[in-house]
Amino acid sequence: MMSLVRWLRRYFAFIVIALTYGWACVSIYRYRTKEAPPGTITLRYAHWQLEPGVRAALDELARDYQRTVNPRVRIIQNVIPESIYGQWASTQLMGGTAPDIINIWQGLPYHIWVMYLNRYFIPLTSIVNTPNPYNRGTELSNMPLRLTYHDAMRMGYVDELQDYMMLPLSQFIMRIFYNKDLLEKLTGSATPPKTYRAFLDACATIRSQTNAAGAHYIPIAASQYHYGMWDTYMSDALTYPALRKADFNRDGTVGNDETFAAFRAGLLSFKNFPPLRARFAMVRDLCDNCQPGFTGVTRDEAVFLFAQQRVVFMSTGTWDVRSLQQQAEGKYRVGIMDYPMPTPDDPVFGPHLEGPVFDRPFTGVCPAITRTCKNPDIALDFLLFAVSKLRNERFNATVGWIPAIVNTRMDDALRGFEPHMEGVYACLNFNLGGETWVKYAQLYALYKVNQISYDEFAARFEPFYKERGLRDFMELQRDWRRGMITSEQMLTGIRAQALAATGAAARSAWVKYRVMTAARQVWPEISHAEQLQLVLDGPRSGGVGPYEYSSNVLARIRARLAAHAPVEPSP
């Protein structure tokens, strides 16, 4: 007896530890067994979508899959808050304990996610050119998977890896959300303003009224997060005419180097380019209708103002549809409206706005399968199920998002707001990085809060931009040169694959290799030389922009017309 007591006293600590360990093992086993009974296949799906409806929609999708495809499969969601998603994903992936499916692109810089995708995820390229078996019986039954996407599955493709890595689930656009009841109460009309001037009038009416506490109503709820959407969808579009002056490389956009070159050459300036003045005038109008101090406010604070019914309009993405509707439930009605643009006869903006604004829908919610997944075939099968026409439509209808797959129906709340895929877009980019960009950001912030005028902005920024911008531009050039090694690394990897492959796989790898060699190494060498020449020596065409007719070209056209050369009018 004494020896037992002595033994117990001697090993008490070890016994406690062993019992605790045993208890923990049993608890985890019981919890896991309850979650996934023996014989079932468990797939864990991690994401950060805490928006209302997402978890329910995924659960519904999982139940549907279990019922119609594989009763042994259990899908368990790990919902991780946005603020720690990046750290969480890093530790799980590096520790080899990652879930089977993870949504990509949140919480970490792009290049880190690309590195993770390369190391820890399974490429899906082999399946994108075959039809999705779950589209059988629909008009998409014979269509390759990638072509069943609105964007040809661009968001699932990672250019740096030359592989499809994700099967995106939804599409998003930006719109203005408004409090229908408050709009009607304050302006007397439940119909949202359709034109810019009508919108400004409505804002003025809203601003002039106070609530029961005596506080003035605010037309627009904005924040650091929200304001950029107003710029992108309204004021930036006024810079489209700069395309004709500054798209020197003829790619249909105006890059930071082209903007800089055009300013240095005098083709563009803050004083002599009226569309730029108009753009800033619109920024002034919009900012004057936001709540005071909006530039220092976070996303949640702006949403709170909207929920408190102190604000009528708020611009955000369609991912917020359900959460805004739920917040308003039983209190007020939420409407969605398009951005109100100036009409052609608008005295200030009409001459510069050449058409409707081009929408930039983007596909999001991008799940990828980890290499540690024990059942990658089943994980892939589940994702194919999720991106089939019928299921994708149903999933997005539940969440209130736009389906990623073609020929699907949108949620009723979004109907009528299909993206407009033809229009104008921003064509100036002052971001050369370094001090130039800091200066621009500082002055633009002051302008937004009405502490400096447009002329003051121009006087303080333009000389600085022209002088210091050159230094920042040269640094960008050096960055590009240093970054060439990354392309060389990637190309050598593809070449090794090509050398090791045979038959069709070898042919495909060589095509990929040659295409990437030209795109990543050969052409950039020339285009950067052209950029440098453009910036240092100015455009060769003198005062004529790249999309303007020179006197030589006009003479040639005149000569052709005079010679009665056949001219086919365009349809």
Partner: protein
């Protein structure tokens, strides 16, 4: 003595058990030469350069001297020392490439090693560096392995470095070389890129009609990676159409390519601009046809 030995063995059994457990836990690595080579490149692509080097070294040790497999391993080691970041070692990389060139029988790896040496020179080139020396390095590959893909690529880089000078004499030299090359190998896999380079040369020379012709040929001979969703002809169509309209003044070609663009890329942001261009050309022709007033400046 026997008793002592048994006791000693008994005392060691926990250590023995640990070793066995650790052996059991050790990751199963690829054993065959092909599998080792594939694993080495997988590690390289994943950015695990230390493991890639270890794998290539293991393969180099186990393969027969100067066999294809050993040369492949050397090439893997040379590439890793050359392009790994951080801890790259260009000198060591260069030595490995040179060892391949001097010791291995002529073949794929010797050709690619020669090109790699030229690329090392090219990527280290500063704006004031000796560009001619880089072009000579590419010429070494061309002379040693004519017709080999490495030589084709060397030719492409060599000519691109001439075109990138944006100098008229260099452009004329590049034009002559590319023309000769294409005469010799009209169906080369690089035909599209080479036509593109010729287009750039003509741009430098101010011959926009020929530039337009070359851009069209570049587009027509393009080879596609069918799996790449970002690879399409939208940029080529837009480029040809705007070159035709604003540089060559050839509205028929411009109309054709703007229309192709509109039809093929309904979701491209430049579609609006293409429609505007069609209207603009009609308006300009209508304006110039009757009395040809003095014109210039931006289109209506």
């Amino acid at each position: 003595m026997l008793h002592f030995a048994v006791r000693a063995r008994k005392r060691r059994w926990p250590q023995l058990a640990c070793v066995l457990v650790l052996l059991g836990c050790a990751p199963r690595v690829a054993r065959g030469p092909d599998a080792l080579l594939a694993r080495g490149w997988d590690m390289y692509r994943a950015g695990e350069y230390t493991q890639a080097l270890a794998t290539f070294e293991q393969l180099a040790r186990m393969a027969a001297p100067t066999s294809t497999m050993q040369v492949a391993a050397w090439y893997g080691m040379a590439t890793t020392w050359n392009l790994r970041r951080p801890n790259e070692n260009p000198d060591r990389a260069r030595r490995w490439y040179q060892r391949i060139i001097s010791q291995a029988p002529p073949g794929d790896y010797t050709a690619w090693s020669l090109l790699a040496l030229a690329r090392m020179q090219h990527l280290a080139l500063t704006p004031t560096g000796d560009a001619d020396a880089v072009r000579r390095a590419y010429q070494v590959v061309l002379d040693a392995y004519p017709g080999h893909p490495a030589a084709d690529e060397a030719f492409l880089h060599q000519q691109a470095s001439l075109v990138a000078t944006l100098d008229t004499n260099a452009s004329l030299r590049a034009l002559a070389s590319i023309r000769a090359y294409l005469q010799h190998a009209p169906t080369s896999t690089l035909a599209s890129s080479l036509h593109g380079l010729m287009g750039r040369c003509y741009n430098t020379l101010g011959d926009y009609t020929r530039q337009l012709a070359m851009e069209i040929k570049e587009c027509e001979t393009r080879v596609f990676d069918p799996a790449n969703p970002y690879m399409d002809n939208s940029m080529q169509y837009w480029h040809i159409a705007t070159t035709a309209e604003f540089l060559a003044g050839d509205f028929a070609v411009a109309r054709h390519y703007y229309q192709l663009f509109i039809d093929a890329y309904p979701n491209d942001q430049r579609r609006f601009g293409a429609r505007q261009a069609l209207l603009r050309m009609n308006a300009l022709e209508a304006r110039l046809r009757p009395a040809a007033p003095a014109a210039g400046g931006p289109p209506p």
